[in-house]
Amino acid sequence: MVAQFITETRTEVEDVARLAARGVTVGYGGRAVIDDLDVSIPPGVVTTIIGPNGCGKSTLLRTLTRLLKPAKGTVVLDGEDIDRLRTRDVAKKLGLLPQAPVAPEGLTVGDLVARGRHPHQSWLRQWSSDDAGVVERALAMTGVADLADRPVDSLSGGQRQRVWISMTLAQGTDLLLLDEPTTYLDLAHAIDVLDLVDDLHESGCTVVMVLHDLNLATRYSDNLIVMRAGSILAQGHPRDVITAELLYEAFGLQAKVIDDPVGDRPLIVPIGRTHVRLEPVTDPLAK
């Protein structure tokens, strides 16, 4: 199978969720981090999960990608229970980039991205011309083709993250789940990586990610999932979801939501304590 998103037009029906969690309860040890949660990921758009530290964002993403097995409930991928599918078959449909992955020292970009072909390979068939083609396209799409000979550890943080995304693309999936792809990146590199995510979205990929930066999440996603304490507080388009009230409820953050002077999405301006020009702000919920 080649990377369909690169070669073919999408055949999915628009309103069918690619990936959904149904009544999942997930925890570590006896403690439930997520309790009886339902969520579905709409196809063809960028969905971002936001929420305060420890609210279960990464746990939800890990559950959706079968890295964590829910104690109760099921995760459904293209209509099938993910737990019943062979993990290799899941890997052909769903690409995953975990938080801060580390490549062995000296591993070249080309070699790393080529390893994304693993689900399509077998002991006898370890490398084919199909593989070479997909890897070349994945490298080209993420703009790292020129770096193919360089060791991954010699690259900048932003380039490195592009390379890892390229590896998940080489899996030939059009469903990508990225766990905090901008962690440890400065703002310019974070924008660079998110522009790449947007390119992938434009080419027909469904993307789910966890982000910490609320303004980047608002700017780059079409669907926000706002979590607090293991459940979903709100879900929808950033323009509908992001309000001062919601930010206070989810994060305990006092903020003003204004029109973005450069974008067509809301812009969050945290208020905080010092150097504030306005009159003292009252609790938005007290109104």
Binding site: T87, P101, W127, E136, D146, D149
Partner: protein, 366 residues
């Protein structure tokens, strides 16, 4: 075969940009063509075979290399046949098998733990085997003597190594095995086992201590065909398992989460591979005693020679064999007194590793 198939057969040339490793296709089988790795492996195999033959040729009754090879091919004279096949072959073969087993075992543990420090020496296998062996040698009478009499010292050491290896593995288990925790626990268990060994040696009868010490340094002296047979078939079976599972290594090098994302059942694959590594090391220790440094150094040297980012299995095994037989040869011939092989592997392996590390640092500095 159609023209298109003909086109695909042989080496697929990747485009000039990006420069990917080209693929090779032979019927249904296809793999990445890495000429340098293949060349290094072939050279190592040739060198290991040469040293193997040299090890047979050299001795109180020297035999020319050509005559050794002729005898190995079954075309030698009768007198050579006896010296080569009956007297010297078991020792050389034991060296070959132990070297390969240690090299591959180290390559596996270093890959699984993603840490060059993780070798069977550090994961407690060698020290566990030693403690059991020394216990059987020094504690005379009663149950110990009965065990030593029935299963033999080698088999008891094998069980000791296996038991300690499994103990370390299960103690390091907490929702999966973390490489760093594996090493820390391995070091602790090794320390305990070494303390136990020392205590046994201090409190034992002086004649038993001499026997135990000889075993502890690691030696190929007095290997018999019987021991070689056990080591050979045991290692062969394990290497076959490793060869089937090794395909899963490529994604495993990228960490658990990435491997899981690529559809690898990493807990299962890792358990199988680590068990193979522990068993290979235990087989090696039971055949030659705890030969130090080979399992740590061989994969690291092979990695640098083959210019791979991770330890290459085949080259590590071949380098282990080369190192072990070569050291044994030096121990027997180059020095005025005959030393156990373990002394030489430590003396050669340690500095070579330091040299490689220093060279790598200097290169990075430029």
């Amino acid at each position: 075969m159609s023209a298109a198939d003909m086109d695909r057969a042989g080496v697929d040339k990747a485009d000039a940009n990006p420069p990917l490793a080209p693929g090779v296709r032979l019927g249904q089988v296809s793999f990445v063509w890495r000429p340098w790795l293949v060349l290094v492996s072939l050279v190592l195999a040739g060198a290991a075979f040469l040293v193997f033959c040299l090890s047979i040729a050299v001795g109180d009754f020297p035999i020319g290399l050509s005559r050794v090879i002729a005898t190995l091919l079954g075309q030698g004279e009768q007198v050579d046949e006896f010296v080569v096949m009956d007297l010297r072959m078991p020792r050389a073969l034991a060296g070959l098998i132990v070297g390969i087993a240690l090299g591959v075992s180290g390559a596996i543990t270093q890959s699984v733990a993603r840490n060059p420090l993780a070798s069977p020496d550090i994961l407690g296998i060698t020290s566990g085997a030693s403690a059991v062996a020394v216990f059987l040698v020094t504690v005379s009478g009663g149950a110990a003597a009965a065990v030593a009499g029935t299963v033999g010292l080698s088999a008891a050491a094998l069980l000791g190594g296996l038991g300690t290896g499994l103990l370390v593995y299960f103690m390091a288990w907490r929702r999966g095995v973390d490489g760093f925790r594996l090493i820390l626990i391995g070091i602790s268990v090794t320390a305990v086992m070494q303390a136990l060994t020392t205590w046994l040696l201090v409190s034992a009868d002086i004649r038993d201590v001499a026997r135990a010490q000889a075993w502890l340094v690691g030696s190929l002296d007095g290997r018999s065909w019987g021991e070689v047979h056990i080591a050979f078939w045991g290692s062969l079976a394990l290497l076959l398992v490793v060869a089937t599972a090794a395909f899963q290594f490529k994604p495993m090098h990228l960490g658990d989460d990435v491997a899981a994302g690529l559809g690898v059942r990493y807990t299962r694959v890792r358990a199988v591979l680590l068990l193979c590594a522990v068993l290979l090391a235990a087989v090696a220790v039971s055949a030659a005693g705890p030969v130090p440094f080979v399992a740590l150094v061989a994969p690291q040297v092979a990695m640098r020679l083959a210019r791979c980012p991770t330890p290459p299995m085949v080259a590590s095994g071949l380098l282990g064999a080369l190192l072990l037989i070569g050291s044994d040869l030096i121990a027997r011939t180059a020095l005025p007194i005959t030393l156990p092989v373990g002394v030489v592997t430590a003396a050669i392996g340690g500095p070579f590793l330091v040299y490689l590390l220093v060279r790598a640092n200097l290169r990075q500095g430029v």
